[in-house]
Symmetry: C2
Subunit: 224 residues, 2 copies
């Protein structure tokens, strides 16, 4: 019912184009809006109550509609999860964008690493959904991987720049180095979230040490 109300709001677009085409356009636009509404509802539940609370029934309940809608808009729960994943990528990318660029590339790397840690702390539910395997069935498809790469693009640019300036060896693929940093830092966050690294201070200490050790090796290559 709420859905119908919303779908009436974009009827202005009916005044353009042929009747049949406009009808399809409106319907398309409606389903797009609907998708966004559902994703927003799911995202709210995700952040408020954690990944395990995001069930099809729970989302449809919050939407005030039946579960059928979710299956009409997204093929299955994984389809919805994928949209949430892309939302998470946006948030992560935003976090990275907020990091002020530094002329000191080493310092910039540490800043980006710290931003990644903070993302994990501030958006724990998103993090678990995206990288924590909270939805066991979820595997990143092409679109997800692209979203991921967009999110950590700043890191890729940084490493690439450092390689061009000779501050980091260019023997290894840029992507390989990025993956190395990403995976290592992720490991600390994930193990911490799993309860293996004690309290947050201890985990953060391990995290910072991981950053220091990695960056020291990476940037030390061309020193002597």
């Amino acid at each position: 019912m709420k859905v119908i109300l919303i779908s009436n709001e974009d009827k202005p677009s009916l005044s353009t184009g042929r009747v049949l085409k406009t009808y399809q356009e409106a319907r398309l636009q409606n389903t797009e809006n609907l998708r966004k509404l559902v994703v927003d509802a799911a995202a709210a539940i995700l952040q408020e109550e954690g990944p395990e609370a995001v069930t099809v029934r729970r989302v449809s309940q919050k939407m005030g509609c039946s579960t059928k809608i979710i299956y009409s808009l997204f093929v299955n729960k994984e389809g919805l999860a994928q949209q949430l994943y892309l939302e998470g990528c946006k948030l992560l990318a935003q976090r990275f964008e907020e990091v002020p660029p530094s002329s000191d590339l080493l310092q910039h790397l540490l800043d980006l690493g710290e931003a990644f840690w903070q993302f994990g702390q501030d958006y724990t539910s998103y993090y678990k959904l995206m990288f924590g395997g909270a939805f066991a069935e979820f595997k990143p498809d092409e679109e997800s991987m692209q979203g991921t790469m967009t999110a950590i693009r700043r890191l890729l640019i940084l490493i690439s720049t450092a390689q061009q300036q000779g501050q980091i060896s260019d023997k290894e693929e840029t992507q390989t180095i990025v993956n190395t940093i990403w995976a290592s830092l992720h490991g600390v966050i994930h193990l911490y979230m799993g309860g293996f690294l004690g309290d947050v201070e201890a985990a953060h200490t391990v995290y910072k040490q991981t950053m220091v050790l990695l960056s020291r090796s990476l940037f030390a290559v061309s020193k002597p």
Copy 2:
């Protein structure tokens, strides 16, 4: 029914001690045997069909008994998962024990790291259960953490030795360094299992680079 047959097999122990005490002993021993049988059955399903196939009904079905047994022996599914976790710790410890000690501590670290990677490849289901968050509800308790620490004890000894010999800085806590290595390597394995690092060769390349970068930093401290 099979269970009863098995429990009859250790009646010889009835011939020792007082009647009441022996009865309790026998019952205790039976439940211990039963627990072991159930864990073995669950472990078989885990390795043959993956973590998601390990359900209470599936295990009880393989045992030829009702689900009640599992809840009598282990409080809930998490209790069973915890036993499987400890089994995994044994397997991991065994893997580490098979690594020949090297007088070159750096090489020894690389060997242990490689053994950890191989464990993840050979016992993927165990790895996912233990560290992958395959059972979302599972958090390591005191016994689990102790089992973990026993498993990676070789790593702790190695780092401690290297610190004593001045090959690795002793400014940081030994446990912190161990956690740093463990978490970083875990991150690569976990991200690979999540499908984020491409095929196994690419992931292994990232893994080896992580080991090289970390160890180079750790062992480089006292060089100059």
